[in-house]
Symmetry: C2
Subunit: 531 residues, 2 copies
């Protein structure tokens, strides 16, 4: 039996794996699962490299004013390098963006969408949550004084409503805590009773069995007299007695939860990359970009599309075109750090080697999409006491993620789609009206009578793989391709260095961008000092 | 075996029970445990009563400008009552206070302490966290536009360091997630293997056993091939491989965790009254009081100590003394709502009946103390990646609670004692210097080399049972006393109505104060309308 688990990653294809997780685990499951595919978890470096010596104004051209580019410019600038950043967009930050009134995004087809959310409402449509151990990001948050607040990743009050659930729970809306508490209760009961009946007599001493039973009683809220689980107030209350105390709602039968599969949406401890609480800048993730920009903004040339990257033994030469005026310019420097998405760089006129181009083309361009809707009443807070966290129906690409800011305010932005892989491709092909309709239809059963009613006609959507100057959510490396190609990209090609989350152990995370910059500027500086 | 659990509430005295929880469960355990003693959990009312009719300026004197008093004044004032509030303190809010630079508190002995924290630093030394379903509080938060943010109650990155733990874990510092993940892993393994060996063949169908095993594999991070728990990256990483991916730290042996008792600090779902995430006003809990004060501040007479409460068939008469000038005044009104702590009211000159006085004297005056220290570096964030939540050593009255605001700032306020019952009495008898010394000594092992070093000489402490005009943390009712006396206090005594958390199902919570006011003004209004 143990050899035939259908949802074990090493038994199935990556796509099946991701989709399975999307169904049972929601957003968090998908991302955690990605880490199983060698995307890395933790940041290894805690501080920028300590660069000694005087570079005497050595000039470095940096392609891209995302976090990797701005980190490079900031740290090298501190040491006396002359850094210039060439950025195709009209703003700094790369994918570190937040959509709010007036924010514009342009697709690869040249269609520009402008966000029309109300004043004070925003949505982090790029990176949106930071685990506390992403040292490199917190390093700059502290340095630039970016105000931070908690981002509620897991909220036990969120709903599960799975039409695909087996048995009587199909289509029934339950709070996450109901399933969590009941499964803990029943499994504790089963193990406590088997222990009591002697099943572990050979494995554990008397004393250890007693301690195990104590633990199970407490962890599972068991009745200490008969070791059975009879529900717990902590799964939710159903009514109040006249004294104001409350009566626990009724536990769902073990058989029913097992049949439903809803228990599989939980793990015994929240995953390290997605702990129950994560963090976000007050006012939007783009405040991190603004922090960097305050420090290095003067060095950025905006609206500058790189067209050619050339080098010889004396230096590099970058040709770029102003995407407003059409004017073409050339800049020369001693070195270049490119943070351009690999898929974009690979298409430019460069004299990078074929081996290098093969490496740039190796990772999958991750298809990722998001949609969020402005609601004219925070019914999830007012009616359901849900502040942050998410609800899920187990539909790949669908999600309901509640805002972790502006609690108790009037309006709020609810994320209503988060798509990856094939689902993102399909989603990206829908019109805005179709996306909204689909999201509302899918979300309505979680908040019946509320979701459709309170959508007030303002929505924002991004498809990163269709976004100009990104063309991917991030670079997804298979373990084999990472082994084969990453070392090429982590070493300079002549005078050209590669930085960006795509060459880090943590693609798709801001920490990866910063760490890659730290690694590359250390190499560049060592060489520059040698002369 | 199951009949001899030592830490089951119904087997031991209340004091033993609370102390046991303090050791194993920390702060959250204590408070959850209190609820087991009939202190109530959930709020029953979602909105204030709808009072119809015109009271034609009926005058109501309200004793106490805490949340119950201000709620009464606000709601009755909206309906045309003439409300005046008599408040002994120089500020409104009752126990809804935050200590910050300049804040003063006075003991029953007349000693006044002034808080000297740095600008921007504060500590919620009274109520400090709101669960999302405390409807009545959120009702006014919305009404008065009080900005809210998340308060991190549970943080798996917090430390356990128990000298009293049995076996090899005694004195060893571990992250909460290590114990949590390992215990889930091992218990899942035990049950999965017993299931595989046929132990549940009679209880569950083949299909249900398979589904149970699926659940256990996922919940406990088991190896699907042999159903064993081999640790998980989610309990923490120990090192990084060259590709930037991380290696899980080593699981602790089941025997060692059982011996230590540390597993007993967790439950399968966070308790309903203390979910993983709770909420707090931005800038301090007293912002709720300020919200009320903006609405009813004009009706408050400050520095007014009630001395006498008299009534006859026509009205009430309150004598009070200005505690600055000594001037004595008398006010008359049609009705009185008293929200004074029962222990204080009971000592005043009143014509309340002996039966009523017996009821007022029945609840225990909860002894509660807190101490917090200002640190000149947020080492728990910078070095340990702990943002909010708590660490514990299992010492009753001791705790380390990290601030859930000002993340990534330079300084921070760390709560270092939270005492109840006997421990609070002892703590209250210490001098400030002794309290600080004890807290630093007790906390140092959690952050060796940091806690003492970074304490920058500014501390604030409160002992609610020794605080003038409070004289208790709250009124703690035994189930028997609640049954016997509460109905007396929930009905008017002549023209005098009792409000305050002490007559609610939720003593010690702000929601109790507001709900009690809602209940009493409804009664008062019904009677007033009858004439």
């Amino acid at each position: 039996m143990a050899n035939s688990k259908p949802d074990q990653p090493h038994k199935i294809t990556k796509r099946e794996f991701l989709e399975a997780f999307a169904v049972v685990g929601g957003v968090s499951g998908v991302i955690s699962a990605l880490n199983g595919w060698d995307m890395g978890i933790a940041s290894a470096a805690e501080a920028p490299p300590n660069l000694m010596g005087n570079p005497n104004g050595t000039k470095v051209l940096i392609l891209g004013a995302g976090l990797a580019g701005m980190t490079s410019a900031y740290e090298l600038g501190l040491r006396g390098y002359n850094c210039q950043i060439i950025e195709a967009r009209a703003f700094a930050g790369g994918r570190c963006q937040s959509s709010r009134a007036g924010f514009k995004t342009t697709t690869v087809d040249g269609e520009t969408r402008t966000c029309d959310f109300d004043e004070g409402q925003y949505f982090n449509h790029g990176p949106w949550r930071l685990p506390s151990f992403h040292h490199a990001v917190f390093h700059y948050i502290r340095k630039f004084g970016v105000p931070m607040e908690a981002m509620i990743q897991e909220n036990d009050l969120g709903y599960l409503q799975f039409d695909k659930a087996g048995g009587p729970l199909a289509g029934r809306r339950v709070r996450k805590r109901e399933i969590k508490a009941d499964m803990r209760g029943y499994t504790s009961e089963l193990l406590a009773k088997l222990t009591d009946q002697g099943a572990l007599d050979e494995q554990l001493t008397n004393r250890d069995r007693e301690k195990l039973t104590d633990y199970l009683i407490r962890e599972g809220f068991l009745d200490a007299n008969d070791l059975s689980y009879k529900g717990t107030i902590h799964r939710g209350q159903s009514e109040f007695n006249p004294m104001g105390t409350s009566i626990a709602s009724k536990a769902i039968a073990l058989k029913e939860i097992l049949q439903s599969g809803l228990g599989n949406t939980f793990q015994g401890v929240t995953t390290i990359d997605h702990p129950a609480t994560m963090f976000q800048p007050v006012g939007g993730m783009d405040q991190i970009a603004r922090g960097f920009e305050r420090a290095v903004g003067d060095a950025i040339t905006f609206n500058a599309e790189v067209q050619e990257l050339r080098q010889d033994e004396n230096g590099v030469s970058i040709t770029y075109r102003n995407n407003v005026t059409g004017e073409v310019s050339v800049q020369k420097a001693d070195y270049c750090i490119t943070t351009l998405p690999l898929g974009i760089l690979s298409k430019l006129q460069t004299d990078l080697s074929d081996r290098c181009k093969e490496a740039m083309d190796a990772p999958r361009k991750m298809t990722v999409g998001k949609l969020s809707l402005q609601m004219n009443r925070r019914f999830w807070e007012e009616d359901d006491q849900i502040y942050g966290g998410s609800s899920t129906r187990g539909i790949p690409g669908h999600t309901v993620i509640y805002p972790s800011y502006g609690f108790c305010g009037k309006k709020g932005i609810v994320q209503s789609a988060y798509t990856f892989g094939r689902a993102a491709v399909v989603h990206g092909e829908l019109s805005m009206a179709q996306k909204i309709k689909q999201a509302v239809n899918r979300s309505e059963p979680i908040h019946p009578g509320q979701f459709r009613k309170h959508y007030d006609g303002k929505a924002f959507s991004i498809d990163w793989h269709l976004t100009r100057y990104s063309e991917a959510g991030w670079s997804a490396w298979s373990p084999a391709d990472r082994q084969k190609h990453m070392s090429i990209l982590r070493e300079p090609q002549g005078r050209v260095y590669f930085a960006g989350d795509h060459v880090s152990g943590l693609p798709g995370w801001q920490v990866g961008a910063i760490e890659s910059a730290w690694a590359q500027i250390e190499k560049l500086h060592a060489r520059s000092m040698k002369g």
